[in-house]
């Protein structure tokens, strides 16, 4: 019996300075579930020019901030939010 390997497709949307440094959107695939912390570390390795912002950025769905231990185990869209400067 062969095990079916599941690919997890993550669509990322970047905001503010990250949108300028990188691009508005980015797609990435992983062959196993990962945590938000894993995703952040991956992005920092992938985009070293944005490390200083990424390390302090939050990750979210449309309505919920995701903590570092949150697990991504299915196709999903995640929003990458640089430190806030409103108000």
């Amino acid at each position: 019996m062969s095990l079916k390997q599941t690919t997890i497709q993550i669509e990322l949307e970047f905001f503010a300075i990250l949108k300028d440094l990188l691009s508005p959107n980015w797609s990435v695939s992983f062959d196993q579930p990962l945590t938000i912390k894993d995703l952040k570390n991956y992005l920092i390795r992938k985009f070293p020019q944005a490390e200083d912002v990424l390390k302090y950025s939050r990750f979210s769905t449309e309505t919920t901030i995701l903590n570092d231990n949150a697990i991504v185990d299915k196709n999903t869209k995640i929003y990458v939010l640089p430190p806030s400067s409103g108000g």
């Binding site: 905001f15 503010a16 309505t63 903590n67 929003y79 939010l81 430190p83 806030s84 400067s85 409103g86």
Partner: protein
Amino acid sequence: METISNYLTKEPIEIEKLLSHIDLKSCGAMVIFTGHVRDHSINQKGEIKNVKALEYTAFEPLANQLIYEILSEAKSNFHLNGAYCLHRLGFLNLEEIAVIIITTAKHRKECYQANQYIIDRIKHEVPIWKKEYFTDGTTEWSEGCIHEH
């Protein structure tokens, strides 16, 4: 079920228009905070730069959700009669209102405390970003609040 309002606007904020919707019958106090675009900014290097305009952007669904939660918690924690917020998005010129926070209560103490609580949390938590346009032609994203994880 209470619906989440839209706390963001691309239109200039009109204080009188907002006040006309607030019921003050059982309130002894109201505190209004307005944040404005000022003509200077200090960057990360400590340099003072002359500001011409600001641009605010937001991740709107989450921003509205978080502002709703902050206002709800403020109303509960400080026993307010009402808590209101409107944040401007888009391009703003000098002196324009970027954000307004209105708190109403039986007494002034909770009004003042809650108002500061709300603006501090909005600045720190809500996904809204400010880009500064300087008179020398350069632009810079404001550094923002670092989140502890």
